[in-house]
Subunit: 96 residues, 2 copies
């Protein structure tokens, strides 16, 4: 199933930047980064449980948040992109 993961973190601190890097690394194992802190991950239910477990160990739950959106079947029909390419990164931050 396709799961959209959005991660809210303050990247003005080195710790926040590091957590974003670690979250990105986990998500990129099973999907792709489509914006700086938005990931589309293709997982089966067991992988999803394991991924959530790993992500929730990385984040600072007092300050950061994660949202998971299960996009269901036909998810490609539900998505539209406008503007800069997903891989565009003015800071050399994305690695798509």
């Amino acid at each position: 199933m396709m799961v959209l993961i959005t991660y809210d973190v303050n990247t003005e601190t080195p710790e926040g930047k590091k957590r974003l890097r670690l979250v990105a690394k986990e998500c990129e194992n099973v999907g792709q980064r489509v914006q700086k802190s938005v990931f589309e991950c293709l997982v089966d239910p067991a992988q999803f449980v394991a991924l959530k477990h790993r992500l929730e160990k990385i984040i600072d739950k007092e300050h950061d948040s994660l949202r998971y959106y299960r996009l269901g079947a036909n998810w490609q029909r539900r998505v539209e992109h406008v503007g800069a390419n997903p891989g565009y990164d003015p800071e050399g931050f994305l690695h798509i």
Copy 2:
């Protein structure tokens, strides 16, 4: 219909911060901010077209991106939140 809107912008510049504020203002008219640059908007098809038009006038298409995800019916069942409350904002940035 529920549309999830994610906005990728560099908020390290005053112009980027301003664009995020303007995008947030438009989205908050028809929905709520759930993360710093993630919005859940309840719109009918005509409102969605009008909203997209307004947002795409605000953003810098060379550097920013917008993604729209039509979440469909039963969208509440598809969402999970972990960590800080949607309204939490270390910078006094959110207004929920």
